[in-house]
Symmetry: C2
Subunit: 278 residues, 2 copies
């Protein structure tokens, strides 16, 4: 997700979209971005990320900015907001914008179901809930960093999941994403010529067979990705990419692993599929 | 955000909450989690992440599972969904659960404002939009990995932002988060005894003065975090933490940098504040 987008470079009337929150604004931006993606054929939106609008002075400045855009001839701005404070909400609603409040709509039915009112505090979902969970999360991200690229064979027993695949098949960003968002201890191991020659994996991996998730990729796509990294190298050449992918897939078959194809997948999609497969 | 939560270990009647989507489910989980955080005083929810519910067979299995929970004496389950397919939506709505559809509510007003209908495709926000943007994002994550912990002083000119602070003040996870979510080329540099003795930063950093963001942390908190990493070490000792933080803050003052305090901040909060400060 790219939160900041400069809008349509072709010029013409712009539409500004604000993601507004009393705290990080990540929830507002995530849902706002998802909703906008349904209309990308229509317009190029200029998205503006406005976290920490937590007092009336900031709200007033933002309201003036929004009304100023209309004066300048822009199209009607849109606000996606998660705003528990009524006064700030009313101030923004009073502008010329289309104001979409993401929390309000669902708090009612949830309250009724659970039989209690909402806490009304902001920043609960992306703030620190308690110090212990923060440290837990830090330790999980550190684990992903320390166990990237097969750096520590002795730590695989501590992992929740171990991704294996050839270099540039998507292991590293997927591990980081899973660590950050699913709180999984994610390690990865790159398959190399040495593994192919031996025809089997290191014992440390075989000892953790149930945690292995195999990734594969289209050789043309791999070639393209590696060219970005080391243009014209043997490492990036199409024959080398073809051979590595083929040998990796052979090894996966031998191990009874059904590889996941990352060719047309985003980091989020690969991560979701890996988590689901566990 | 932790998407998978085992529920209340104390026992008693459970309430299961499902995040359901035709694609990655990240939008449903993000907003659902934010909404639930407003009610955490009420119940310990058991959250279940169900991406890729993209055909009627999967929908039917999920519906049976949900109704089964009620039979087993659980409280009424809740579904947070982003589901463009009407037949799947109706199938899930027909269960005993509270079904909250996150997309539907806002698609109407947006359609009216923009004068066009939604594309109806799923997975647009967290999928690959095009190969180029995927590669761009990968290269940005790789940049954060390669420029962690001051590894490459010569690459600072390519960075969008450079975090500086003592070891364990939150630089690495913040850089990774900013790379992943804000598509910023984020580098970081750990302040060490050597920098304090010299009383100034390496020239490569001073040449990129406008990109520097200083992080600081409460010495007690730092002590606690370092103890987790290397218990009983000089590195983790309170006097050492106190001295490092004090010297770092002196250096920041000398450079005219106002440090950001990470003591009670989550990775998302620090990232949001850094992005806002840029």
């Amino acid at each position: 997700m790219k939160l900041i987008h400069p809008g349509d470079p072709r010029g013409g009337p712009q539409r500004s979209v604000f993601f507004v929150s009393e705290s990080t604004g990540i929830t507002a931006a995530t849902l706002g971005h998802s909703l906008l993606s349904q209309f990308e054929q229509a317009e190029a939106f200029r998205t503006i990320y406005m976290p920490y609008i937590n007092n009336m002075e900031k709200a007033g400045n933002l309201a003036a900015r929004i009304d100023g855009l209309m004066v300048k001839g822009e199209m009607r701005p849109i606000i996606f907001a998660t705003m528990p404070k009524t006064d700030i909400r009313e101030c923004l609603k009073a502008t010329a914008c289309l104001y979409l409040e993401l929390f309000d709509t669902f708090i009612g039915p949830l309250s009724k179901e659970l039989g209690v009112g909402p806490s009304g505090k902001s920043g609960l979902s992306h703030g620190i809930v308690n110090g212990d969970s923060y440290e837990h999360r830090m330790s999980i991200i550190n684990f992903a960093m320390a166990n990237d690229d097969g750096a520590r064979l002795d730590k695989f027993s501590q992992a929740d999941v171990i991704l294996i695949g050839v270099s540039r098949s998507g292991k590293t960003p997927t591990c980081l994403y899973m660590a950050m968002h699913f709180e999984l201890r994610a390690a990865n191991y790159p398959l190399t010529e040495e593994d192919f020659e031996k025809g089997h994996l290191p014992q440390a991996l075989l000892d953790n067979r149930d945690k292995l998730v195999a990734l594969t990729i289209d050789p043309f796509r791999l070639h393209h990705i590696r060219e970005e990294r080391r243009r014209g190298s043997g490492y990036a050449s199409l024959p080398r990419c073809r051979s590595e992918v083929q040998q990796a897939e052979q090894l996966f078959r031998k191990l009874g692993l059904k590889p996941m194809d990352t060719t047309r997948q985003s980091i989020e999609e690969i991560s979701s599929r890996v988590v689901r497969s566990l």
